[in-house]
Amino acid sequence: MNGTAKPMTGSDPILEIRDVDKAFGGVQALDRIGFALEKASITGLIGPNGAGKTTLFNVITGIFAPDAGDIRFAGQSIENLEVHQRVSLGIARTFQNVELFESMTAMENILVGLYTRTRAGMIQSMLRLPRTRQEEARARDQAMELLNFVGLRDYASRKSGDLPFGWQRMLEVARAMAAQPHLLLLDEPAAGLNISETGHLGELIKEIRKQGITILLVEHDMSLTMSISDQIVVLDQGRKIAEGTPRAVQENKAVMAAYLGKKANPTNN
Amino acid sequence: MQELLQYLFSGMTNGAVYAVIALGFSMLYSSTDLINFAHGEFVMLGALCMVSLTAGAGLALVPAFFVTVAAVAAAGMLFERLAIRPVRHPQPIVLIIITVGASIFLRGTGMLIWGKDAHSMPPFLDIAPIDIAGARLLAQSVWILVIVTALAAGLHLFYKKTLTGKAMTACAVNKKGAWIVGIPFKWMVLLAFGLSTGLGAVAGASIAPITMSSYDMGTILGLKGFCGAMLGGLGSLWGAILGGFLLGILEAMGVGFVSSGFKDATAFLLLLLVLYIRPQGILGTAEVKRF
């Protein structure tokens, strides 16, 4: 029952996860996980600690290879692609414990985020021909726009490590956006944020979706997740125990059992 | 045949020394996750101390041996206390440079104390070489093999039977967990440094009679010990011994059948091969960070 993605109606999904297995030693971190993300949708991936959410992120982005199963992005398998190649293809992410380039400024962080969308190599950089200069100027404009988008315009030249934590999260989102992704994976973006920052984040995520970007969100803040997601996928101990609209999932017995620790047979919806 | 046996003997002698040095690397790594680039310099200190205490100060062998090991271990602990513990950002690149700095510093100190000349001392027991099928086995070689066996058994017992040994293993497995159950972590690191550099001193003191000891002997010996440790599997006790012997024998065969000038290159080529092909070594299971 918690197996292959159910057939999608309407447009083709942007990301399909098919029967993905991943074990570490004896621990089955992901057990035949399968679901699909529709274009320009927001999917909340929830589950208790250790459910396998971050592992799934790492499998999708290519940090771990799955033991079995397949990941298809925009209709093609990305199994053999390395981490950076998947970014070029349009999969960007943020990290649970913000991983900014701390010794670099906010602006430079975004510029690194633009890496896959710019071309100049080592030799072009040394020669600094007009084309390279133009590309650099364009990249800086784009970076400024992105900083503006997350409200950090005035802090462009601040060291990212010196920014307050909430701003660092926003900067990381902007850096991921710089890769011009089709799919954005956000790993607990609200962790450590206060209520007003969380509200702002929610608006930002909806704004990003409006640009046609699909979002997969791991988040413990239920009110945020439930309010912005179109679809919720629930993992528990490496298995998918439920999938559906926020309302359906909230009423699901298996989900309640997983969160409250009661035994129940996992059922779909 | 006789030739082969002769190479095997000399390879085993060197190999035993590499094994002891490898043990020092391995046990420090397994309890602190650190590789001490100055380890070879402690071997050098062991050898030169031994020479000075016996040939210079006229001390008897056994007390000289123990004084040497104790002194070098104390120096190792001092090094940990002064140069490793105060490090605020213990990233590998910082620790590499610090321990490389320590290695150069100790080498320079060795040169100031003992000068640039090589020193030698008589073997532990004045017995004629043993003749086996026409190949000569030095009495000192037998000594070294005895010492290695005793050390291996001792370390094995230390880790398996004593509380301190178990605590040290616990620190290696999970620092935070060890701290929570009340294991004095800092003291364990200090002890690991003492033991590791003490092992280096044992290696140095044992080879002092069969080699010329000088201030610059440490770097190469250290690298070879590291090569042995990697070969067997870094962090594994028996791996270090196996790797050390294997390196010694391969090297001796290389000298015998290829060329003596490139003797040292054997070890480094082997090291690179292990790093590239099987960084966990022959016996190692620990996952090596290769990203």
Binding site: E82, V83, H84, V87, A92, R93, F95, E99, L100, F101, S103, L111, V112, L114, Y115, T116, T118, A120, G121, M122, S125, M126, R128, R175, A178, A179 | L34, F37, A83, V87, R88, H89, Q91, P92, I93, I96, I97, I98, V100, G101, A102, S103, I104, F105, L106, R107, G108, T219, L223, D264, A265, F268, L269, L271, L272, L275, Y276, V288, K289, F291
Partner: protein
Amino acid sequence: MDDKYLPAIYTGFALGIAFLGWRIDNAYYLQLLIFIGLNTLLALSLNMLMGYAGQISLGHAAFYGIGAYVTAILSTTYQVPPLLALPAAVGAAMVIAWIVGIPTLRLSGYYLGMGTLGFGMIVHIVLREWGSVTGGASGFVGIPPLEIGPVSFASSKSYFFLVWAVVLAVIILCRRIIDSRVGRALCAIHDGEKAAAAVGVNTRRLKLQVFVLSAGIAALAGFLYAHLVFFISPGSFGFMASIKIVTMVVIGGMASIWGALFGASLLTLLPEWLHAFSEFEMVVYGLILMVVMIFMPRGLTRGLMDIYERYRKTHDRQ
């Protein structure tokens, strides 16, 4: 960042070189300045790798040696004009760096340190033992002075200008790389390799590229060294030489181009100032490495700058 001032800084630098070259006639001082230039090249080369990309090399003198020996063998044994030997020397080092770098740069941390150390040792042993080609442990004699077309660089003064023109050019090129897409990606690898890959940086390829570039600069320094002293021996390219380069970077500061100049100057002048220095050379280097790294892991000049910045910040707040 301070892009606006760079042309002015470069012009000032060039004028400084011209002034020194014009004023100084003493052969000893010129020689000293030339060595500072060569060491600056070496420090710049390692700094690109270690300071910016965060990848340690404990065998960097190997590339210095390859550069020196390739030009020595070509221009002496085979009578190749130095101008043709130059691309061969630099190219050889870069090709070797590329071949060695593919497996080596997959390693990280201690293993990378040991791997590069082992590589340096092997090159040193080959230079020492391959007597028929390299002259063995006693060294290689009779390297011709540098002549490029009709211009001869036999005099100290002309060599001084040549070396420092090269230094300035390399500084400009390094600076340009640092302030570019590639340079930022290198710094990103330093700050966090995982995150760099996650934003799309091909970390493996970039590390390899910077390793090859760095080897090329070191070989260039080796080429200039060989045609300066006319006699080279393996001893100049061993473990201590590699450590000396690391020390220059550590003093000058990780990821600081002008720091490389400072580190190279200090380590070239120190032995000249302290006559008894040769005895204590190793002790002093060792102490420098340990003390700087314990208290200022980003290097001496960087560390001092950080302290100043922190002071200013607390001062501003009051």
